[in-house]
């Protein structure tokens, strides 16, 4: 069914009973051309773009839980393309352009809201760093504006401008950045992929990858064996576990990132703000909750929940940035498992085994990349060559030294 103003009015009058499931809850067939492991945002986007851009619809997406149960429903919904490095900017900007047309592409309301992402700076050195980043973005055709203190004050008069330790001097603003309703991204991609013939198979956990003569032949799952000519891995925090099924050892550690939402409040924060003197970022959902987060906990974890020191650290960041936040109550907090790579940048590449493809290492920045990741990964799977916007994400870069280290932290995943 296509959504339109007519269908909306019809459903409004007829009531909810006319609503149908958004995608087919498929049972696994004996085999597929392409099996995508992981029914998160990236896996579903990959399936959608395989069908839409490359006409490949004999595709299955395997999800061990249910659609929307992983990181696609656990992030803080922020989209932006304010990167520094030449290798990174084209991918995130491609992603931003796809976000801008996403709802038309999917015929689904994902509540894409380009409300602006503002990164605050608190020192001269940090201003210079942001000016450099803004220039790098503009060279690549990405929008960036360097605001002074008054410029920030116009947008957010309630921030703690005169904090003794970290006075706000200004910020780097990307107006095209913003937020997207993350659940709707999962549902929209699932619906659009399913409509084009992709099988979305839930509650189907991987138990093995079959390889013969250096080539993949299929997958073993909790719902039986499935043959496949090509297998694509997009499983975020579980990357190392799934790759180990194919005998691979990767430059990835799994870490837990916590996120928080307050009780619903009247509108106070129109855009997205990041604190520059600590790790804290915040926006307000359309329901009114303040959605915020900070650093990863910093130790290997598969637990999908974190510990109190980081809760305290995040809340301290919030108090330093906008003391008014102290009056709000935290409603919920949760954790997701991040595939932290050794240089803080993703891997989109073919693996040493024929027919095996990997999309991983998104660290805690995967959500904003969902459309671009799916688009370029689909291109790689369909054509066996990297998409022009994703040429620098090869696994071989760690061996050759062409790493993409935005933060300059080196091979220490918990610091990226």
């Amino acid at each position: 069914m296509r959504y339109s103003i007519v269908s909306l009015l019809r459903d409004a009058i007829a009531g909810v009973d006319r609503r149908k499931p958004q995608w087919r809850d498929a049972a696994p067939k004996a085999g597929y051309d392409i099996v995508i492991i992981g029914g998160g945002g990236h896996g579903l986007a990959t399936a959608f773009y395989l069908a839409k851009q490359h006409g490949l619809a004999n595709v299955a997406v395997l999800e061990k839980g249910w659609i929307g149960s992983g990181n696609v429903g656990r992030n803080t919904t922020i989209i932006r393309s304010n990167y520094l490095l030449n290798g990174n900017i084209p991918l995130y900007e491609l992603s931003m352009k796809l976000w801008e047309g996403l709802e038309q592409d999917l015929n689904y309301n994902a509540m894409v809201s380009q409300r602006g992402v503002l990164n605050l700076y608190h020192s001269d050195a940090q201003r210079d760093g942001y000016a450099r980043r803004g220039n790098a973005m503009r060279i690549h055709g990405v929008d960036a504006e360097l605001l002074d203190r008054d410029g920030v004050r116009k947008l957010y008069p309630f921030l703690n401008f005169d904090a003794a330790r970290f006075p706000i001097q200004g910020g780097l603003l990307q107006r095209r950045g913003g937020t997207v309703r993350h659940d709707a991204v999962a549902w929209g991609y699932a619906r659009a992929a399913s409509e084009r013939g992709v099988d979305i198979i839930q509650n189907c956990e991987m138990t093995g990858i079959s390889i013969s003569d250096g080539r993949v032949t299929g997958v073993e799952t909790s719902r039986g064996s499935i043959k496949a000519n090509k297998i694509a891995i997009a499983v975020a925090g579980n990357t190392s576990r799934v790759a180990a099924m194919a005998g691979l050892r990767l430059p990835i550690e799994s870490h837990v990132l916590q996120a928080f939402v307050s009780e619903g409040l009247k509108p106070i924060i129109p855009g997205v703000i990041t604190f520059g003197a600590g790790h804290f970022y915040i926006s307000q959902s359309d329901k009114g909750g303040l959605v915020f987060g900070g650093d990863i906990d910093g130790y290997n974890s598969y637990a999908q929940r974190g510990n109190l020191p980081v809760v305290e650290d995040v809340c301290e960041g919030g108090m330093a940035l906008m003391p008014a936040i102290g009056r709000a109550r935290i409603l919920r907090s949760w954790g997701g498992i991040m595939d932290m790579s050794m240089d803080g940048s993703p891997i989109i590449d073919r693996m040493p085994i024929d027919g095996l493809y990997l999309n991983a290492g998104w660290c805690y920045g995967g959500f904003k990349a969902t459309p671009g990741s799916g688009f370029t990964f689909a291109h790689l799977i369909a054509t066996d060559t990297p998409h022009p916007a994703a040429t620098e994400f090869g696994l071989g870069r760690f061996r050759s030294g062409r790493i993409l280290d935005e933060k300059g932290q080196g091979a220490q995943p918990n610091l990226h």
Binding site: S240, L250, I252, N300, S301, A303, F398, A411, N414
Partner: protein, 89 residues
């Protein structure tokens, strides 16, 4: 999460800094062999879901390096020992 430091006793995890996998061994005489064991040592990790031996540093306490065995699925700590005791072994 609390970590039972062998010297200081049970302390909040925020007193400690995390380094990572403690089973890695720096290859000897491999400085120029960037493609072989040194590459594996610097970049590749087992990253298990389950028991994980890892280095922590008690910076806000006795400043000892310790080896913690911890379950990454539950954060349960199974054992803690001084890192140097492993060197002696």
């Amino acid at each position: 999460m609390r970590i039972k430091c062998p010297y200081c006793g049970s302390r909040d995890a925020s007193e400690f800094s995390y380094l990572g996998d403690a089973t890695l061994k720096r290859p000897a005489d491999a400085e120029h062999d960037v493609d072989g064991p040194m590459f594996d040592y610097v970049y590749l990790r087992d990253n298990p879901a389950g028991r994980h031996r890892e280095h922590w540093y008690h910076g806000a306490g006795c400043r000892s390096w310790i080896v913690v065995e911890r379950d990454t699925r539950s954060h349960d700590i199974i054992s803690v020992e001084f890192a140097f005791s492993e060197t002696i072994r």
